[in-house]
């Protein structure tokens, strides 16, 4: 019944302005506080990111090579930006490259990986040194096993952990695929999709290195440059 509804109370300017003002002040206070915390943690966060990147590169590249995280060679492959990093020996010779890539074909979200390659000479066969998962959102206990034991560099200590299945594999579509799809990579139990996603990313990066080897090597030896499929 319409006459049961009380007429809206007329509101003064004050009733309208005070709530707005309070919210603005609280937001401004929060922003100030966050700015201070960000300033205080910025260097530590950058250092942690850098240390993590360097650590991951050292893991995927053969032992003894030195790495430089600050000078990647970037290329766009199938719409995704890949970064390549050089692993150089004491004489300054480029012995291996690592590719930072990702796959969105996982079970949940993006799987970002780092993968190392050796066999860059004209005569050599391009080989995967090993893989390292930088971030993922796969199911805990199933797909998350793509990261099992990956901080270890000694394969003997890791049993059949996922990363060991890529060690020393040749870059070829007949190898870098789950066994189910005609490759040689043993899939993780109940995590074929996660396995396939990592395989795809590794193969894609490997094929790019194979096809654009000289370009990447030149780019990494000289100034960091922009490459890409023309």
């Amino acid at each position: 019944m319409s006459d049961a509804v009380p007429a809206p109370r007329s509101e003064g300017l004050r009733d309208l302005l005070v709530p707005v003002l309070v919210i603005v002040i609280i937001s401004a206070g929060s922003a100030l506080l966050l700015g201070l915390v960000r300033e205080a943690t910025r260097e530590a966060i950058a250092a942690a990111d850098r240390a993590e990147a360097e650590n991951a590169l050292k893991i995927v590249l053969p032992a003894g090579l030195s790495v430089d995280v600050t000078k990647p060679f970037t290329a766009t492959v199938n719409g995704r930006e890949l970064e390549f990093f050089a692993g150089t020996d004491e004489a300054g010779t480029l012995r291996a490259v690592a590719a930072k890539t990702a796959s969105d074909k996982g079970y949940s979200g993006l799987i970002r990986i780092l993968v190392g390659f050796t066999g860059l000479d004209d005569s050599g066969t391009l080989q995967v040194t090993r893989t390292y998962v930088l971030s993922h959102a796969e199911t805990p206990g199933l797909g998350s096993k793509i990261t099992t034991c990956q901080e270890q560099t000694d394969a003997a200590a890791c049993g059949d952990a996922f990363w060991t299945r890529f060690q020393g594999r040749a870059v070829s579509p007949g190898v870098l695929k789950p066994v189910k799809d005609g490759g040689e990579i043993q899939a993780l139990t109940s995590a074929t999709i996660s396995t396939r996603a990592v395989c795809d990313a590794v193969l894609e990066a490997g094929e790019y290195v194979k096809a654009h080897r000289q370009e990447i090597l030149d780019g990494l030896r000289g100034a960091p440059g922009k490459g890409g499929t023309p």
């Binding site: 709530p19 919210i23 942690a48 993590e52 206990g141």
Partner: protein
């Protein structure tokens, strides 16, 4: 109520997860290991104490009709601080908790305590309430995380404990294991409580 009972109620009689059944997302989602559970619990406890304090201090300033947006801004501010600090100094934990840290913003324990307690009580009591609720939440997370990690992965805080006794039951680190574990813990709490009530 005394200060002690404001603090202790959150741990047992009004445990947010096991008695009030509030904020059940983290106990289900981030309890695949005891370590993640504790990290999550302590992060939420920090946010809870700080947001309770600020909400209580501003309880006469914030107009009633905009209280929810105001609380959410305050809570989001402290959650972002936790996120940045964890990222800077406890990188590993930050990595494994991932998206669930920002999601503390929408944890209903925190908004619930701001609305039900801190907006009506003085700062010290509000902080004690937040601390008690935060610890109660952490203990509940730890309980779920402990059961799931031991049964599902055969480890406790990463140390192998089951290796020679039995094969881990993978189900327990999967979502159904979370529901089962939480259900049995709540049932256990109810039983203890009932026995207590009957003397």
């Amino acid at each position: 109520m005394s200060a002690w009972s404001e603090f202790s109620k959150g741990i047992w009689t009004q445990n947010p997860v096991l008695r009030l059944l509030l904020g059940l997302c983290p106990p289900l989602a981030v309890t695949t290991s005891a370590k993640d559970a504790v990290g999550m619990g302590l992060s939420a406890a920090f946010v809870l104490v700080m947001s309770n304090l600020v909400v209580s201090l501003l309880r006469r300033t914030i107009p009633d009709r905009v209280r929810l947006p105001a609380y959410i801004v305050i809570i989001a501010c402290f959650v972002t601080i936790v996120d940045m600090v964890l990222k800077a100094y406890v990188t590993d934990l930050h990595k494994s908790l991932g998206l669930f840290i920002p999601l503390i913003v929408v944890n209903c324990i925190i908004l619930g305590r701001a609305e039900a307690f801190a907006s009506k009580n003085p700062p010290v009591l509000s902080m004690l309430d937040g601390l008690g609720m935060g610890l109660g939440n952490t203990l509940a997370l730890l309980a779920v995380g402990t059961v799931r990690e031991i049964l599902g992965n055969g480890t406790f805080f990463g140390l192998p404990v089951l290796s020679s006794v039995m094969e881990p039951v993978l189900l327990f680190v999967l979502p159904p294991g979370a529901f089962l574990t939480l259900g049995f813990l709540i049932a256990g709490m109810n039983r203890l409580e009932r026995r207590h009530a009957h003397g």
